[in-house]
Every structure is written in structure tokens, then in C-alpha cells.
Symmetry: C2
Subunit: 542 residues, 2 copies
């Protein structure tokens, strides 16, 4: 028997329509690419998103067609978010930092019919336009006065397109499971894979972002998302801000410490969100200049793990609360958020930081579990670690065009590729990537744990730990380290140091020194390359 | 094209399962019917709700069957909420304050297969059991030690049923639109009508309750819902508390000021919810005894409009924030919540109270509009008033077994029966019931506005205003008033007083004095009776 409740679909357009009607005056402030600070509000964003939908219809964009963007955080990008999804087309945010050949690959794979671009990325598009086989036209996100000379063919001016429309457009109703946006992940191996979000998943995820125990986005907030809108829907903030009526402050192309700080102070920013690298720049600028944050109350740190010192600096030196969050493009992305519980209120500050250092608590809507190699669920005791699986109504069920094949198991669980612990309060801590963990005689050894300990050894600048095949134990750990220049540290010194903190079975079988370690473009250790490099290495114990 | 997102249903069981796994230690405190304070936690509530599901299966309760409750707010009622809905059956909360013949009507209409009862309501059930044609057995919500002598046939003891089960039960997955619970509205006319909630609507509504701009229920809260769990799912709090991990504190049968206050202080209650009458008792007790609230931060007032003095007392005298909320059984119930906006922060306190006196802002997920008699939408200017229509994924689409016929229009809007204003910030104010509004020459006159002004006239104790047919204007207002004993106030005095504040066309055509006015059981003016009484009244102007 079904309930007798109105069958209203959860659609992204309802968020901006609600914002236009109920907090139409709330400001959207952007540092424009053209130069000055630009001010608009939700009423105008809703109206202009509708004009955009009309204009795209006139350009031949149909329901379900993909529309690409190469853009910074700004009001026009926000209008595209709502306009494209609202009309039932798919907003495909492209990361402009990818290599040109990757951009060509994903724009063609997505079959982007139209590509919107900020002024910044015109040269990039000019260079690759002949390879974009699916794209029929380009829209430059500026007005007539700022339209540049360009070799781009079939090019339109954003403001001119909007001026031709009257905005008398009613957001259409359709199935809430309809695709709304598309974002590619750039794995370390294989082709980029597209995650295809739905209206339903986006709205549900927005509720999580607005929940007090999620990110708590609310009407009294002024939010500056430094995380670029080409990443995983910028962690849901554009949608959550519209539905709650929070003021939005967007940094455009300028994400250096000074620019971000000034915008925060000028616009009364209360909440911010970004990756650790950005906060390093910001904190550096604030410290150098003896400044403080006069309105910022909390910041969300995600993308990669925040170091303890960063969390301590925000909280202890600046009174800014830190919410450590974990997610992936495949998880929309919020999976966990690092809020403290009531029972933690009276803990000493350092223990609160210990908790904040974890990746956060499982949010309602997301199920997490850890399993061993035979898919047996492991205890939630904060100690046992296993492959982290995730399930929920905003978690991917498979990549666009079936790239990568089946990615969920028979019970619907998606393997994150991470290895971690869960505790009885729902806090999760990632201990490794599952491909990096060392499987020794049925026990797992976290490569990251061993690396962290190795770096603590005097004379060691950087260390990577990888698994080396072993005839008896299957795999055993090898430390590959860089010495501090001129320091006499030896293999035996490192092993002696590790004996202080690691159990016997976790101790590496060998230590080798190298001059440099391979990294990805974003600074992460490239262990695939190390494994290749050491594939014929024989451990002394073997 | 559909998004590629896991197809996970939104089910009520996911809330208690999440609570058991991620904040299993958080307490549920109840003043038990048997006497002492009882303490349990979410882990146990989840386990016992599973045992309950097993026990009900053994009693022959199937998917979709209705299970009635006659119960106060307490942990067993909470277990029934989750256990019955979680197994796919329908939890039908019966208001024990209804007349016995109404209880018989709705229990039979709902076809309640089993009825759970607190010790309190056994005599009531004994008296009507022979008329309950659909009910196969009764479960008394107590343990063996407290089982009373009873003439009830086919009776079980709650704890004994649970003891027989092992709790090794996996919450089943099913369509999220499946009916989850049932609650009857007692209209002033006709039979009670059942609102049949769904899992999907309940989960979405819970997200609204947890949103910072909804009721902001969160993990650091300790919540005491005084509103009984037999009303409209007690405003969503049992579900929202589980999903956020808030501590629950439940008053059982004792809702007097002293009992509620003591529980608030003992259990560190931060948030409470109830109707104005309950708060009057509480505030009376607190004032008489010179007490204060040491932990309570905010209270939700709903059910009927809170008087200004009550809001002022909470805020000014006790530092307790007030969230005025509006909803109906048909709206799950949250439709509006009276949170202030950022732009209101610097207003003088009295103007903030003015805003808090309105019924609150439209929450995201609910659409409100006001229309005239021809269904034309009226302006959102805070002045124009019209019939209030509502639409959304937790609003009723029709009553159980089609009672009352079609209740939504062609575009899916439900008519609330209220008349009100909306403003550009989404705040709604109810000005009248639509059947009470006076329609005079195409203009609407609010009966409540005229009543409020009439009561301000010296010598008038109470006043009701109803429409009287008029040959020229269709309808004109008549004031029916009670004089203060011995006061010489006249018809002309009242009309002269009203001229000070009402426009000429709003002025009543006549004033008559009576000794008493008819009221409902809850103290509201019974205008249907007045209309009947004055149906042959001729206005002097006619």
C-alpha cells in the first residue's frame, strides 16, 4: 500500500526557484574575470538561469544533452549550474587544469554540444577546437564590451544570448532520477571516468549539506567556496546555499591568500570550503601580515587530509572551527563530516583535535562499512581496518557509458579504493589506499602508517612504503626514503627508529635510499611508478 | 537520460539503523507510565524495534497492515514508530483524547489489526472493545510485573512479546512510497479523515526538521517533545532525533508545568516543542517559583498561534529563542518555521518579535501560494490575503479510502482552508479560516482582524465575527459580543471604536450582544454553530 502523498519530483530547479521567491534579495558576490566585484542576487540568478534555458533551447540543446563549462567560481557559472540542469540538460563541469588531451577526451566522451568558457580559457579552447568533434558552439562568459578577438568558430557572447530572452519560462517537471550534471574523475590509471549525478541525488545531498550535523549551511551564512565549481559540484554548496538563502561569495580566478582573505573580510564570510593547499596559502598570508578573521566561524577542509598543525592554527590561533570532510567525486561528494559530538564537549582541546583529525562521521544518508578480502564485515572498533565500501542515494552506481564496468557489488556497495577504520560513533579514518596496503600473511599493514613513522626518523626528508612480493608472507613492506643532505642516517637507523612504534610484523624488511620520489601533479606520491621501478627488487628476507 | 546513482529507497528504518550504528550510546529518557524514569539508548531502541517487528510478524501482521497505538510519549511508543513502519506496516497513532465513538470509528476505518496501549487507556479500550470489529488483539505496553487485570480479550504483554525474539532481523527494503503511518484529522464537520504518510515523505520531512533553517535538530540537542506522539508524527522530531543523534526526553503522561520543567532541568534539555497551552502551564510554574531555564536554548511553538506575550516572555525573561511553526496533519506537518533572517539581526527587539509573530517562513520543499476565488495567484507583498494553497513531497494528495474526495487541484495544490498573506521573504501570516472570511462586494474581510479590534473596545469580553448574507454586497460582517458584567457598552460604542482602525468597507453592519459564545473542546470559537444560530438574522442595512 502506497502513502497518499503528493508525487512531487526532487528537482534542482526547485532550489533556485525557492531562492528567487523566498530570499530573492540575498546577494551573490563574485570577483569577475573582467576585473571588478560583481553583485547580483537570487532573484536575478533565477531569472537569468531561466533566460539561459531559453537561449540554450534556441541553440538546439535538448533534454539530456550535455553542456560543458570551463569556468571559475562566479555568478555566470552558478546560472549555468541551475539553467542547464533546470531545463533537463546535463551540466558537465570540466577541470581546466587537466592536460589539453584529457579535456579533448572528456568533452568528446561526454558529447558536449555547447561549451561555456570564461575569458581565461579561450586560448586553451582555440588550440583544441578542431579536435572537439561533438561541440557545435562555444559561449564566452562575458558581455559584448569584453568579447575578445578569437579564432574560435561558432562563438556566442553570454550576455548577448541572455538579452535576447524574456525569462518568461517555467521550470519543467520531469523524473527526479534524470541526469543533472557530469563530472569526470582523473584516476591514476586508465581514462577519466564520468560520474553522472541526478536531480534526486543532488537535492538529497543538499539536504545533508544543510543539516546541522552535515555542513550546517544556513540563511545566516555568507559562504565562500574556494573549492572550484569544476570539482564534484563544489561539494554541494551552490545548491545548499540557494535552498537555505546563504549569501554566496565567489573568488573567480584569484585564489591566492591575499585575494581570498580580502573577499572574506569585505563580504562578512562566515563559512568557507577548500582543499588544504588553499588554506596553507591563506594562513600564510594572514600570519605574515598579522591579520585575523573577523567574521569567519568555520571552514570545511576536504579533498585530502588536513595536517594537524593546520587544524590547530585555525582553531587555536584564529577561533575558526574546522570541519574535516571526506568524499569523492563518486560520492557527490559528502560521505563524512568531522563534527564533534555532545559527549566531546568537555574533552581537553588536544583530544578534540585528535577527533577532528579523523575524516569525520558518516552522515545520515550514507552507509559505510569496512570489509576484509573475503568481503566479511569488520568490527567498528576504531582499530580494525579494511576496504571501505559505501552505499546510499547519492553514491554512483557506475560510470558514464559503462566505463570501468560494474563498480558496485551484488548488494549495491561501491568500493572507494580506500582502506580505513570505523568506530562506534561513526567516525572514519582512512589508513591507506587499498592498492597501497601491504598484505602480509593475512594481516594488512598500512603503508601510510609506516611512512609517517619513517618520516619521524632523524635525517629522513621523505619516505614512501610499497609492498614487495615475498615467498612466505605474500608481501612485505619496503621503505624508499630520501636523506637530508649530508645526514649520515642508515638503513639500520631507520629500522631501529621504527621498532619504537611499530609491531614486529609491521616492520619493513628493507630500507633503500633514493634522490627523489615520483609525485602526481597535485603532489601526491605516485606509487604506481615506484612499484614499476622496484618490480624486480629482491628483499634480503626473501 | 537517467543519472547513474544508486537506487536506494528513503526508508524510515534507515534512520534508526543509522542511529544504532553511529550514536548507539545516546540516551532516550522517558517518564514511564509505571512510575520511574526509564533510560535506554538508540542501540537498544533499534534492537527492540527489530524484535517488535519479529513479534508482529508472529502475530500475523503483514506488510501494509495497520497497527494502532493509544500511547503517550515514551520509549516503547518510539520503538513502535520504528518497528511497525520499518517492517512495512502502517503505524496508526490514535488520539486518546477523542470521544470513544470517534476512536471506534477511526480504528475500524483504519482496520487496525493490533492496537498497542499504554496502561492509561485500558479502561477506554475495555469499554469499546466489542465495537472494534477489525482488531484481532491488544498489546499492553508494560512488563509482566505491571500487567493489570483486564477484561480485554486477546491481550499480550509488550515486554513478553519482545523477550521471545532474538532481534536478528534485517530491515527489509521496499518502495519508498510505501505507506508508513496514518493519522486522522478531526475536522469540525464530517467524519475524521486519515492522512497516510509514506516513508519517502517522512524521510524528506526529517531532513527539513534537521536543516538549520528548519528546526535545526542536531547531535548536540537534548529534545523534549511535549507535543504528543499521537499528533502528526509529533512534528517529525522522533525521526529527526534518530537521524541526527539528539538525545530524546519524553514526558509520558505528565505534561503539567512542574513535571515538564523538572525533566528539562534534569536532562539538560536544549530544545522543546509543543502547543501554546502547554507553554502557558510551564511558564506559569516557572514564574510562580522564581525559576529559570539553565539549558534550554529554543522552543518550537505550533498547533495554534502563539500570543505575543508568550514569545516575549520566553525571549526577554528567559533567553529562550522561540521558533513559531505552522503546519497541519495534512502537511506532515512542517510548512513554515519562524526563523529570523540575517538582515533582521540588527532590528530592535520589538520588531524581531513582530516577525516572530508571523507563522514563519516557507521551508524549502514546500511551495505556498495565495489565490483569490478564481484561483488567480495574489502578490507576495505581506498585505494581500487569499486562500493558502500548499504543494510538496510531504503534503497529502488525498485522504485514506478517498474520504472527502479530491483534495488537490489540477496542478497538485492542496487547499489548507486558511486565508493568509505571504511576503517577499517567504513569511506567511494566517489572517482567517477561508470559511470564516467575509466576502463583501469582491473584497475579503478577515473575521479575525475585526474580532481582535472589537475585543479592544472597553466593555467587550469576547467577540465573534461572522458573515451574514446581504442583497447588495453578498456578505457583510456581524459582531456577536459578550459584555463585561455591568458595563453599559452599546452597539454604537463598538462601531465608533472600530472606526478608529478599520476601513469603512470593513466596518461591521451590526453588533449584537449575547451571554455566551460556543467553543470547541480546545477552546476555539465554534463559528459553524454561530452561523447556524444566526442563519435567519437580517442586517439593518439589508
Amino acid at each position: 500500500m502506497l502513502g497518499l502523498i503528493q508525487d512531487r519530483p526532487l528537482l534542482i530547479s526547485s532550489q533556485i526557484e525557492y531562492a528567487g521567491l523566498n530570499h530573492g534579495d540575498v546577494e551573490i558576490v563574485s570577483r569577475s574575470i573582467e576585473g571588478p566585484i560583481h553583485r547580483t542576487n537570487y532573484r536575478n540568478v533565477n531569472l537569468r538561469a531561466k533566460k539561459l534555458a531559453q537561449a540554450l533551447g534556441r541553440l538546439g540543446v535538448d533534454f539530456g544533452d550535455r553542456v560543458g563549462t570551463l569556468a571559475w567560481n562566479g555568478y555566470r557559472h552558478l546560472e549555468i549550474y541551475f539553467g542547464v540542469s533546470g531545463m533537463g540538460s546535463v551540466c558537465h563541469t570540466i577541470n581546466p587544469r587537466l592536460f589539453p588531451e584529457q579535456i579533448v577526451y572528456i568533452a568528446n566522451h561526454a558529447e558536449d554540444k555547447v561549451i561555456f568558457t570564461d575569458l581565461t580559457f579561450i586560448p586553451l579552447l582555440e588550440a583544441i577546437q578542431d579536435q572537439l568533434t561533438e561541440t557545435q558552439c562555444f559561449v564566452i562568459m562575458t558581455d559584448e564590451a569584453h568579447m575578445p578577438e578569437t579564432s574560435l568558430k561558432n562563438v556566442h557572447c553570454y550576455e548577448t544570448l541572455l538579452e535576447a530572452e524574456d525569462g518568461a519560462y517555467v521550470w519543467p517537471d520531469f523524473d527526479e532520477k534524470t541526469a543533472s550534471s557530469l563530472c569526470y574523475t582523473s584516476g591514476t590509471t586508465g581514462n577519466p571516468k564520468g560520474v553522472l549525478y541526478a536531480h534526486r541525488s543532488t537535492v538529497l545531498h543538499s539536504y545533508c549539506v544543510c543539516a546541522n550535523d552535515g555542513l550546517g549551511v544556513c540563511n545566516s551564512d555568507s559562504i565562500l567556496p574556494v573549492v572550484p565549481m569544476f570539482h564534484a559540484n563544489a561539494w554541494g554548496i551552490p545548491y545548499a546555499a540557494a535552498m537555505s538563502g546563504a549569501k554566496m561569495v565567489m573568488p573567480g580566478a584569484q585564489m591566492d591568500g591575499k585575494s581570498v582573505y580580502e573577499l572574506m573580510e569585505q563580504e562578512g564570510v562566515t563559512l568557507s570550503a577548500g582543499v588544504p593547499t588553499v588554506w596553507l596559502m591563506l594562513l600564510g598570508y594572514v600570519k605574515e601580515n598579522g591579520l585575523k578573521f573577523s567574521t569567519m566561524r568555520r571552514t570545511v577542509i576536504g579533498g585530502s587530509a588536513a595536517p594537524r598543525s593546520m587544524i590547530e592554527t585555525f582553531i587555536n590561533d584564529y577561533g575558526v572551527n574546522v570541519v574535516h570532510a571526506w568524499g569523492m567525486t563518486e560520492t557527490s561528494p559528502i560521505g563524512t563530516t568531522g563534527n564533534l559530538l555532545k559527549k566531546h564537549e568537555d574533552l581537553p582541546e588536544s583530544e578534540k583535535i585528535d577527533i577532528r583529525l579523523k575524516q569525520g562521521r558518516t552522515v545520515y544518508g550514507v552507509e559505510l562499512k569496512i570489509v576484509d578480502d573475503e568481503d566479511n564485515e569488520m568490527p567498528r572498533d576504531g582499530v580494525a581496518f579494511g576496504r571501505l565500501l559505501v552505499r546510499g542515494p547519492w553514491i554512483t552506481s557506475g560510470y558514464f557509458k559503462s566505463e570501468g564496468g560494474d563498480v558496485v557489488d551484488a548488494n549495491g556497495w561501491f568500493d572507494t579504493g580506500d582502506v580505513g577504520t570505523l568506530d562506534k560513533d561513526g567516525y572514519m579514518q582512512i589508513t591507506d589506499r587499498s592498492k597501497d596496503v601491504i598484505k602480509s600473511g593475512g594481516e594488512w599493514i598500512s603503508s601510510i602508517d609506516v611512512e609517517n613513522e619513517a618520516i619521524g626518523c632523524a635525517g629522513i626528508v621523505e619516505a614512501a612504503v610499497i609492498a614487495i612480493p615475498h615467498p612466505k608472507w605474500d608481501e612485505r613492506p619496503l621503505v624508499i626514503a630520501i636523506k637530508e643532505e649530508g645526514h649520515p642516517v642508515t638503513r639500520e637507523d631507520v629500522l631501529a627508529h621504527l621498532k619504537n612504534t611499530l609491531a614486529k610484523w609491521q616492520l619493513p624488511d628493507d630500507v633503500v635510499f633514493v634522490d627523489e620520489l615520483p609525485h602526481t601533479a597535485t603532489g601526491k606520491l605516485l606509487k604506481t611508478k615506484l612499484r614499476e621501478q622496484f618490480k624486480d627488487y629482491k628483499l634480503p628476507s626473501a
